[in-house]
């Protein structure tokens, strides 16, 4: 803890620079520093508590809450659509629990809180971001390509056939940041989990192994989540008689 307090010198430098140069950031930096301290300490104690309990159902409840928060965050991107919270939550939950379940089933990760919680946290965070992007893109693609969609409907396509290109474009666009991260990881970017493990004294190769598992999990979960959300949400833009609803 002494180390952390000493590291506050860095914050002091930042505040001083801001003051001298008139950036007017002092208040924000101090507030941010305090918030980061409080939030991280709280989650640190919570994790400690949960790890010590060795109760899996408690872990599950925590993951569920995380998924709900993810669903809530992402569903804001689909304003005015009925059932958006449920859809976003299901999509993110599906992506997370399917991949997590597979990793557990294959015996790659142990069912211990110290693995499950951080892995699920990263997965849910990524799936949420991907779902938000997919929702945004779905809406804009549907607006800009309404002519194409209605041309397909007029030729006797069902809603899902008519929206096929739109769904594809939305999911592809949503996956771009993550796929790009996969391509540059290790070359430009050193991911957080790996960096943290190395700092904490793990062998670099062990850290890399964990990082690879994480990345593969993130990609699969994000794809499952964004594809599910696109397929579920697209139905809201059409009537049962395959009519495009005016946006």
């Amino acid at each position: 803890m002494v180390d952390v307090v000493l590291a506050l010198v860095l914050v002091a430098i930042a505040v001083a620079l801001s003051r001298v140069k008139g950036l007017n950031l002092e208040r924000d930096i101090l507030l941010g520093t305090l918030r980061a301290f409080a939030q991280l300490m709280a989650i640190g104690y919570l994790l400690n508590f949960i790890f010590d309990l060795h109760r899996l159902e408690l872990v599950f409840v925590l993951l569920l809450i995380m998924v709900l928060i993810g669903g809530q965050t992402s569903s804001r991107r689909a304003k005015s659509l009925r059932g958006r919270f449920l859809i976003a939550t299901c999509a993110i939950g599906l992506g997370t629990f399917a991949t997590l379940g597979l990793l557990i089933g294959l015996g790659i990760i142990a069912t211990q809180p110290r693995y499950l919680i951080p892995l699920a946290g990263m997965t849910i965070g990524n799936a949420t971001r991907t779902c938000s992007l997919a929702l945004e893109r779905l809406r804009s693609e549907l607006t800009s390509r309404a002519g194409e969609v209605e041309a397909a409907l007029a030729l006797g396509a069902t809603s899902s056939q008519a929206a096929q290109h739109v769904i594809r474009a939305a999911v592809r666009a949503a996956m771009v940041p993550l796929v790009d991260t996969l391509k540059i990881v290790g070359l430009i970017q050193f991911p957080g989990a790996m960096t943290g493990m190395i700092l904490a004294g793990a062998q670099p190769l062990d850290a890399v192994k964990i990082q690879l598992i994480i990345m593969y999990m993130l990609v699969a979960a994000a794809l499952i989540a964004s594809l599910s959300i696109a397929l579920l949400v697209i139905r809201k833009y059409f009537t049962r008689d395959h009519q495009l609803v005016v946006l």
Partner: protein, 256 residues
């Protein structure tokens, strides 16, 4: 397989969001329309922009449904026919060409392919392209590389590929120059006869309506002002509004 279209007391209201006053408002688009379009007839709908012409067409292939009244196709209630089957029988060409990613061929065979046709697609694509006066050499071309005139013809070929009985044309020449427009009109007239199509042709262009339509409905502000033989609409208008509109005076009057 020609088809008669009957409108009975059809009205359409639409909700729209008034962002200035932050509330939903209702807009009446079509009011109490009763008329019929005969088998294999070229029927034009004339009116200024915003009159509800496009909406009227969209009710026929059920891209939208009426708020009041109903539409009968060949004696059957349109809302009772399976909507996918109905749309295969009712081809539509929109004001602006909109394509699916890919080649001319992929666009033309889109409809038949959806409905499970697997063989003879190449022949069908060539036939449909020939029917709209385009060379089969275009089949492999990307749609964005064509001229707008060619694009609208591909859209027409795409609609024909389903073998429709009714053709809905929503200002299909508004993006074309005069010679392409005239060629398109001749093509549509020929197709209507050859394939015994019932054609609903929407236009705001007085001259075009006079060239194309057998009978014409004048639609202003969602109201059917007059419906008669096209020539009679111009030479013996039954109302003052028709006379002024067909003389090209309506717009000036409204804004002056």
């Amino acid at each position: 397989m020609p088809m008669r279209i009957v409108f009975e007391g059809v009205g359409k209201t639409r909700k729209y969001y008034d962002s200035q006053n932050s509330l939903w408002r209702q807009q009446v688009v079509l009011r109490d329309l009763t008329f019929q379009v005969e088998d294999a007839e070229v029927f034009t709908i004339l009116g200024p922009s915003g009159a509800g012409k496009s909406t009227l067409l969209r009710l026929v292939n059920r891209l939208e449904d009426p708020s009041q009244g109903h539409i009968m196709l060949d004696g059957h209630l349109a809302s009772s026919i399976d909507v996918i089957a109905l749309r295969r029988d009712v081809g539509m060409v929109f004001q602006l060409p909109a394509f699916f990613p890919g080649t001319v061929r992929e666009n033309v065979i889109y409809g038949p392919k959806l409905h499970g046709t697997k063989t003879g697609l190449d022949g069908l694509a060539e036939t449909c392209l020939a029917a709209v006066g385009l060379s089969p050499d275009l089949l492999g071309r990307r749609t964005q590389d064509l001229s707008v005139g060619q694009q609208q013809r591909v859209c027409l070929a795409r609609a024909l590929a389903n073998g429709p009985a009714i053709l809905l044309l929503d200002e299909p020449t508004s993006a074309l120059d005069l010679s392409a427009t005239l060629a398109m009109e001749r093509l549509i007239a020929r197709l209507a006869v050859e394939r015994r199509l019932t054609v609903l042709f929407v236009s705001h262009d007085l001259e075009q309506v006079r060239r194309v339509g057998q009978r014409t409905m004048l639609l202003i502000d969602g109201h059917m002002v007059e419906l008669s033989e096209t020539e009679a609409l111009f030479t013996q208008p039954q109302s003052d509004l028709t006379r002024r509109f067909c003389a090209g005076l309506w717009k000036e009057e409204k804004h002056g």
